[in-house]
């Protein structure tokens, strides 16, 4: 019975949703200090290419590749974060967009390493590798009553689900911590925050690096789920797509970009039945949304309303102060 419920198609869509949610979180982190960064597609590319190249050329385990890709993207985040500290708003957006393009052009031109525009194929697939490893230990998915490909996609989905939940939990926790408060203070008024004794340089670079780290992580996952990457995957279209997750869902609370990524990834799939018109409807939905709710679908008010409607739980310390922001 379990086997009939598990359709790789739905799991595949769900996997892309989860990766997009991680990307949405990455842009939310930088936005939570009031910095608009469009470099996330570039960081994603760094993560994806690093992991793919390491696993392809040196036969490293996927997990090592993913960690290396994530860390390298984080390092780049710090390197870009420091010099761009003085920039704000549109200027920062332009510089970071430029950075993303530079990364893409490097991937295109560094042909000996990245195979240029043709892209890297045959990247180890997360689920298939896992299946092969488990098979070496004598495990067979048939024990669970599953086909091989059902097991592969179920494994990917569960891994991504676990990872995504941990990431969201971590950043929700961080929001309520000293770091999160500092981020919020900087977002509201940098000068005031500084006069309160918050080290602006540290926190802004921290947010930037965290964003880069998470984007790089998503990129590395992307490479091992799709098993093929090319520079065109990390062009500015991707940067804008990630930004839309936050703009559509709302960037005030972490659930905004999460919902944005979920909704905007599901929509083209749901609209498949109208085939060539689906992207028109997709565009129309975004326009209507922006006209009706420019602050994004999910904001603090909506969350409070949801909380009121759901059975009341024990009030935790510090949640009340969050509402007033």
């Amino acid at each position: 019975m379990l086997a009939e419920l598990i359709n790789p198609y739905y799991l595949q869509v769900a996997s892309f949703i989860l990766i997009n949610i991680i990307l949405g979180v990455s842009i939310y982190i930088t936005l939570s200090t009031g910095q608009l960064s469009l470099a996330n597609a570039g960081f994603m590319g760094i993560g994806a290419y690093t992991s793919a190249l390491l696993t392809l050329n040196f036969d490293l385990p996927i997990i090592v590749g993913i960690l290396a890709g994530t860390l390298l993207a984080g390092v780049f985040g710090i390197l870009i974060g420091i010099p761009t500290l003085r920039l704000q708003g549109v200027y920062l957006a332009i510089v970071t967009l430029g950075f993303g393009e530079v990364i893409r052009v490097i991937f295109v031109n560094w042909e000996s390493m990245t195979k240029g525009a043709v892209g890297l194929s045959g990247i180890p697939h997360m689920g298939r590798e896992l299946l092969n490893t488990l098979k070496d230990f004598g495990f067979d998915p048939k024990i669970l009553g599953l086909q091989n490909n059902q097991f592969v996609f179920l494994a990917i989905f569960l891994i991504l689900l676990g990872v995504t939940i941990s990431i969201i939990a971590f950043f929700r926790r961080q929001n309520r911590s000293r770091v999160g408060r500092a981020f919020a203070a900087i977002k509201l008024d940098e000068k005031a925050a500084e006069s309160m004794g918050i080290n602006i340089t540290y926190y802004k670079v921290l947010a930037f690096a965290q964003g880069a780290l998470v984007a790089g992580f998503a990129g590395a996952l992307f490479a091992h789920v799709l098993a093929y990457i090319s520079p065109a995957d990390f062009a500015y279209h991707r940067a804008v797509e990630i930004l839309i997750f936050a703009v559509f869902g709302g960037s005030e609370v972490i659930w905004g970009p999460v919902f944005g990524a979920l909704f905007l990834t599901v929509m083209p799939e749901v609209l498949r039945f109208i085939s060539e018109y689906r992207y028109m409807i997709y565009g129309l939905i975004i326009i209507i949304m922006m006209a009706v709710r420019p602050q994004g679908l999910i904001d603090v008010n909506i969350l409070n309303w949801v909380k009121l409607k759901t059975p009341k739980r024990r009030q935790k310390h510090g949640t009340s102060s969050q509402k007033s922001i």
Binding site: Y9, V105, N149, A232, V270, R272, R278, V292, L297
Partner: protein, 384 residues
């Protein structure tokens, strides 16, 4: 606030309705495929095509070609094909989810598509693992059928087209020195260039220079001036038609009058529309020549024009032949079984379609003789 909430609620209700209705549609299809009733082999064939987005023209041509072939094949009564068409929007992840839907929710017997080689790089391995035969009709990059046993194509790869065009050009113009010009930020033109370079080296041509350009570039004077100074006998250009036409225009204005040899992307009537007389002297190899003196070709062009109001291009022609090849294999397999169909496809030899005589080699790649065309006096003509 309250008003907004109401709108939000309405919107949520609407979108969840959409979700429900979409889910409902999935179950009905593909219940009894594979049953042969009354002699005809019934099969669902999935199609992944680039229907929305900047490359939608390709998808339109391909689906039109397929639909025309489907109508004719079903009319004959030996095979009954039901096409399940999905859009990929030219993106790898969309192509992959479309493929998953076709393979797992619609239970198709085989897949035709996707449109781009990049998409095939993602979809091919997955289809191969699931044991679903998949045939590209427009994927020309290297290494596509080598993905696996279940991956085929009937689109003329660059590795066949470019050497064929080059051979004829060398023969006619007694060329020894060539210059190469290519777009390095596009999969299509880059892999075309790799083939060109290899072909030129194999034929012992002296490569004077290799110049690159980017997508959307409008001024090629720097590259062309250098090429002009080196005086090549031929210019090999791996470009898509929109950039390629501008390159030819600027080259002719500069006084470069040597012939150009192009790849598959350069092969479009649009070159003549954009560059006008400057397009004369472009040599391309193509699987499809619409003016061919052949009854099948004439019939196809006539029917296509009647149905869709325009002349079929190579994408429509390749898709049309692809479905015929599929039907032929289905007929030979005798049932809509994925493995039986794969074996039958691999055995297709000497199939006579509108593209000429066609066979698969042992890897599932194309064996056929391309037609070499040249633009003369503002029209494509056969090059001899």
């Amino acid at each position: 606030m309250r008003k907004q909430l109401k709108k939000f609620a309405q919107f949520t209700a609407l979108s969840s309705l959409l979700v429900l209705s979409a889910c409902g549609g999935n179950q009905a299809a593909g219940d009894e495929d594979g049953e042969s009733s009354g002699g005809a082999v019934k099969a669902d064939i999935g199609v992944i095509s680039y229907i929305s987005g900047p490359g939608a023209a390709y998808g339109e041509a391909i689906t039109n070609g397929l639909k025309l072939a489907q109508e004719e094949i079903n009319g004959k009564g030996e095979v009954e094909i039901n096409l399940v068409i999905e859009d990929s929007a030219g993106k790898q992840d969309q192509a992959l989810t479309a493929a998953q839907k076709l393979m797992n929710s619609e239970n198709v017997t085989a897949i035709i598509g996707p449109t781009l080689s990049t998409e095939m790089n993602v979809v091919g391995p997955e289809a191969d693992l699931n044991g679903v035969p998949i045939m590209g009709t427009s994927t020309t990059a290297e290494g596509i059928p080598q993905i696996g046993d279940y991956v085929f194509r009937n689109s003329l790869p660059e590795a066949l087209a470019i050497p064929a065009a080059l051979d004829k050009a060398i023969e006619k113009y007694d060329a020894k020195k060539v210059a190469i010009l290519y777009g390095n930020d596009d999969v299509f033109t880059k892999s075309g260039f790799d083939t060109m370079k290899k072909a030129a080296e194999e034929k012992g041509l002296e490569i004077l220079t290799i110049e690159t350009f980017q997508k959307g570039q409008s001024d090629y004077n720097a590259q062309l001036t250098k090429i002009k100074g080196l005086k090549p006998d031929l210019i090999l250009a791996s470009a898509l038609y929109n950039e390629g036409a501008v390159i030819m225009d600027q080259a002719r204005k500069m006084g470069i009058d040597v012939p150009f040899v192009g790849g598959n992307g350069f092969n479009s009537p649009e070159v003549i529309n954009i560059a006008g007389d400057a397009a004369n002297g472009l040599i391309v190899a193509t699987p499809w020549y619409g003016e061919k003196e052949d009854d099948k070709v004439k019939e196809f062009v006539g029917k296509f024009e009647e149905e869709y109001g325009k002349k079929p291009d190579q994408f429509a022609a390749q898709a049309y032949d692809a479905l015929y090849i599929m039907a032929e294999a289905l007929k030979n397999a005798g049932e809509a079984d994925r493995d039986a169909l794969r074996d039958a496809l691999a055995e297709v030899k000497g199939f006579n379609g509108i593209l000429g005589e066609f066979s698969f080699d042992e890897e599932g790649d194309v064996v056929m003789d391309p037609t070499v065309l040249v633009i003369e006096g503002g029209a494509f003509k056969e090059f001899n």
